[in-house]
């Protein structure tokens, strides 16, 4: 390790933290200290301790492929991601991220060695303070993830899976992981509240479970099978209701249910399902807060570098370089632009944060009408921190997307019904459209509304133990057939008995189609 003694700002006339593009560890320390002063002292951020790691581009590719985590169990799908990313990078289709940051305590962030010093300053402010603050304070993260325990847990998961591979063969483990990965989007708790998870404890509990579970089967199966006499219909219905209660059906977390109730899985297989489920759950908050998270980090870096410049601590050249990559990142191409790839979370996020600041300090009449609570309160720091802590993308947009921004982005709402030869514009940036556009955009950020809604509704105990899944069809949008059939086959592999997937129209309750194994 090449740690150098911390030095204060350089002696002499210049207050500049650095000059030119080259960086070394002393410069990083010095710049970090200056950034921290603003982040904590001025913005009032509250962060986990930082662990800052400098890596090479190969490491960055590595980090991408194990979903950004410093350690992860092995699976071919990560290798697939690796070869693809590498190819893209090699051909220059895609640059690498300047930085990757992990929701853990201490908060680990990786920085590329190729970054110039101005860029290092930018990403330090962005990741080590912006993202870090968001991870620590946002309620979704607080509620669903355990930053203290995640690294230990992944370490445990990695070891555990290696052990399983030794004991049961690489192939068996791979098959199981394939199946579990296919269901991982359905392996999270979306609606139910759950106590703050403690991953460290999970690790210990696993050992206890191993010995206990060895003999333990769910009571459920002991009374089976039993046929139903014609006169017992009513009793059967009662039994169904009682069973639903006992199994807490319907259940949205497919992996959880299968892990707890599958009649065929062995203990180690249940443990692996739990690992996949825990990892999926760990990432679920990130999916729900893309716009806010990036918005918060971008706002923080933008504020900090400008402040550094105002204080004469970075040069004009450095600021220009920073702003150059800043504006690349927050570019929002129009829908008919070649480069358009959806709403850019950096662009919208930053714009919304800056807009909140504007509403707090320089409100217009319109703002007073829309945001009486915060307009002109002058305290944008507290307002923003409060927003960062208590919302997720969906509610944040619902609450804070102002008419002014809708106009600025020229947002419009289009809907399209398959079979029609045209799409319809349902709202634009005008008086009548604001609400429509805002609601629709908020809805499109609600992961549980965007991803297919699939739940376990019944297990046919009277007969063949068939697991019944129900897809609630919204707006007549069915599941893509081929992937659906493959996933159902995987679900069957895990469950051990037949699995049936029924599609039911959400609003009318009408059954649409049914597939089974």
């Amino acid at each position: 390790m090449e740690r150098q003694p911390q030095t204060k700002a350089r002696p002499g006339r210049s207050r500049l933290l650095f000059e030119g593009a080259e960086w070394d560890f002393a410069t990083l320390q010095r710049t970090y200290a200056a950034i921290e002063e603003i982040a904590i002292g001025d913005l009032g951020l509250d962060v986990y301790p930082n662990q800052i790691e400098i890596i090479s581009s190969e490491h960055m590719l590595d980090a991408y492929c194990s979903v950004g985590m410093p350690l992860m169990y092995q699976h071919w799908s990560f290798g697939k991601r690796f070869v693809r990313e590498k190819e893209m990078y090699r051909k220059g289709h895609k640059g690498l991220a300047y930085e990757v940051v992990i929701n853990s305590s201490p908060c680990i962030s990786y920085y590329m060695e190729d970054n110039t010093m101005p860029i290092q300053a930018l990403v330090l402010a962005h990741a080590a303070f912006g993202h870090n603050h968001f991870f620590k304070n946002n309620y979704v993260f607080q509620q669903w993830t355990d930053a203290e325990g995640i690294l230990d847990y992944l370490e445990f998961a990695k070891r555990y899976i290696v052990k399983c591979e030794e004991q049961h063969g690489v192939k068996a483990v791979e098959e199981l992981l394939d199946a579990a990965h296919a269901l991982q989007d359905q392996g999270v708790f979306r609606y139910r509240r759950r106590p703050k998870p403690n991953l460290r404890e999970q690790k210990i509990r696993q050992r206890e479970r191993e010995s206990y579970d060895a003999q333990h089967y769910n009571d459920l199966w002991r009374t089976l099978p039993r046929t139903v006499a014609p006169g017992e219909e009513a009793a059967a219905d009662r039994e169904f209701a009682e069973r639903k209660k006992r199994l807490k059906l319907p259940e949205e977390n497919l992996l959880y249910f299968i892990e707890k109730n599958s009649p065929t899985l062995e203990t180690w297989q249940r443990e692996i399902l739990r690992i996949v489920r825990n990892v999926a759950q760990y990432f679920y908050p990130q999916k729900q807060t893309k716009i806010m998270n990036e918005g918060c980090a971008s706002f923080v870096h933008y504020y900090i570098v400008n402040k550094l410049f105002d204080e004469g601590r970075i040069s004009e050249g450095a600021l220009l370089e920073i702003l150059h990559s800043h504006s690349n990142v927050i570019l929002q191409p129009a829908f008919d632009d070649q480069r358009f790839g959806g709403i850019n979370p950096y662009a919208l996020g930053l714009a919304m944060m800056q807009d909140i600041r504007r509403i707090c300090t320089e409100p217009t009449e319109e703002d007073h009408a829309w945001y009486p609570a915060i307009a002109g309160n002058g305290d944008w720091r507290t307002t923003l921190r409060d927003a960062w802590a208590n919302y997720r993308d969906e509610s944040f947009i619902q609450q804070f997307l102002s008419p002014r921004l809708i106009r600025e982005f020229k947002l419009f709402l289009v809907s399209d019904v398959a079979g029609n030869d045209h799409a319809t514009v349902d709202g634009i940036h005008d008086e009548r459209g604001y609400e429509n556009v805002r609601n629709a955009l908020a809805r499109s950020c609600d992961i549980s509304a965007v991803e297919p809604d699939i739940q376990i509704v019944d297990v046919d105990l009277r007969g063949d133990r068939t697991l019944v899944l129900r897809h609630a069809v919204r707006e007549g949008v069915p599941l893509a057939e081929r992937s659906r059939d493959e996933v159902v086959a995987y679900a069957r592999l895990l469950w051990g008995y037949d699995v049936r997937l029924e599609s039911v129209d959400q609003s009318t309750g009408q059954p649409l189609c049914e597939v089974g194994t």
Partner: protein, 441 residues
């Protein structure tokens, strides 16, 4: 709580292949498809490029990770888009095609079930590994073919770290002596003297005061000496020197490889594919041994012609079959462009074994008298279909060329021939070539 000083860690020198395990898992998973892709790549690429690894594409089907996804081609979809210029509420936007998504952008192509090609790059090693799989090469040969450059370790001075086997005793001891002298480490002889005197004095019990003082001095001296010997070691890690070796590229020369092939109608795509693998293998071998490898393609029907690679493998030609014309052409080219003194000459001939009447005899004569004396190696494969292969299993039997060439095999060690109906049959043709190579290495 504030963050305090950050924990800065330099990980740039950490091992870089953390994803290697995953990558190998992926390659294993997709092996069947990759194999097919490589097969195709070998056919499409230039002979000289086969060994360079590189990009391949496989259908993404087998390596897909299915998830429940919405079908974008059915039902009602809506979305918020930026950058409206002309639309107002209630406008209708014509869709680019009837199956499309919402009003332009990328969404239209984002169907639920995509079937894309998955493109990625294989390293040279990975590529060759799978290429060799079919050819059933022995492992030793595989390893030596994959090695891109041959190095020979050459002595290059001394170094102060290395492995025990490279320890240079002379240097080490020279350093050790110098240091011991400089630090005045008492030698064993010196200690012995003191000990002896001590023992002598200690034995006696009628010591004078002078002698008693001498005894005390000796004890002190011995103690000091022992201490000094402990503090100044006989051999210090500082003294140790190892021989240093530097890998030096082996001197290489140039080689020319002649590919001779019968392209009359009886050589179909399957035969040509096998022939190509045969040529590729020889080329890989030569590439490894020589700095520069030229390839000359000569095809023949009843006349022979030097052609480029494309024409060689893909053009169709009709006519009779007179093999000797190709040999004559090769002879002509050698004379004109590849003087034997400067070039190592290798030749590989592929044919289905048919030859015009008594031409086979002439071929054998030419080889025997003119070509084999100047060739390092001449390999002949007779490409048969599997049924014929069963028939000619006994190597004494064969078609016209085969029977005539048989005499040569006895006489020339540099001549090798084989029936081939399957990629796995190719390697034995070169067995001797590789055996020699490995014996040398």
């Amino acid at each position: 709580m504030t963050a305090g000083t950050p924990h800065l860690i330099d990980r740039r020198l950490n091992p870089r292949d953390r994803s290697l395990g995953n990558r190998q898992r992926f390659l294993r998973r997709a092996r069947a498809q990759i194999k097919e892709a490589i097969h195709k790549a070998v056919n499409d690429r230039n002979l000289a490029d086969v060994g360079s690894g590189g990009k391949i594409s496989i259908p993404s089907r087998g390596v897909q990770e299915p998830r429940f996804r919405h079908d974008r081609s059915a039902g009602r979809h809506s979305g918020v888009l930026p950058g409206n210029r002309t639309f107002i509420s209630g406008d209708r936007i014509a869709k680019p095609d009837s199956a499309g998504g919402a009003g332009g952008g990328k969404e239209a192509s984002d169907r639920g079930d995509g079937e894309d090609e998955f493109v990625f790059a294989l390293s040279r090693d990975e590529f060759l590994d799978i290429f060799f799989d079919d050819l059933e090469l022995p492992n030793l040969v595989k390893a030596s073919l994959k090695e891109a450059y041959a190095y020979k370790p050459l002595r290059a001075g001394f170094t102060n770290h290395g492995v025990a086997t490279n320890l240079n005793v002379l240097r080490t001891m020279r350093n050790s002596i110098g240091r011991r002298v400089a630090f005045r480490r008492p030698g064993l002889a010196k200690v012995g003297e003191v000990r002896e005197e001590l023992a002598e004095l200690a034995q006696r019990d009628d010591l004078s005061a002078l002698e008693r003082r001498r005894l005390a001095e000796l004890w002190a001296e011995l103690e000091a000496m022992n201490h000094r010997r402990r503090v100044v070691p006989y051999i210090d890690p500082l003294d140790i020197r190892y021989n240093r070796f530097e890998p030096q590229p082996k001197p290489k020369t140039k080689a020319v490889m002649f590919c001779l092939m019968d392209v009359s109608g009886s050589m179909g795509p399957r035969e040509k594919d096998l022939a190509k693998r045969f040529f590729v293998l020889l080329h890989l071998f030569l590439q490894r041994r020589y700095d520069r490898v030229d390839i000359v393609f000569i095809r023949h029907t009843h006349v022979a012609q030097e052609v480029d690679e494309q024409t060689f493998f893909f053009a169709q030609e009709t006519g009779g079959t007179v093999v000797s014309t190709a040999l004559a052409e090769m002879q002509k080219i050698v004379r004109a462009r590849y003087p034997v003194s400067d070039w190592n000459i290798y030749a590989a001939q592929a044919s289905d074994g048919d030859d015009f009447a008594d031409d086979a005899g002439r071929c054998a004569e030419m080889l025997d008298a003119e070509l084999l004396p100047i060739c390092q190696y001449f390999a002949y494969v007779e490409i048969l279909d599997p049924r014929e292969f069963e028939l000619f299993k006994d190597s004494h039997n064969g078609k016209d060329l085969w029977r005539t060439y048989q005499g040569l095999q006895q006489k020339w060690r540099s001549f090798s021939m084989k029936h081939v109906a399957d990629p796995a049959h190719i390697y034995p043709v070169f067995r001797e070539l590789f055996a020699k190579q490995n014996a040398k290495a």
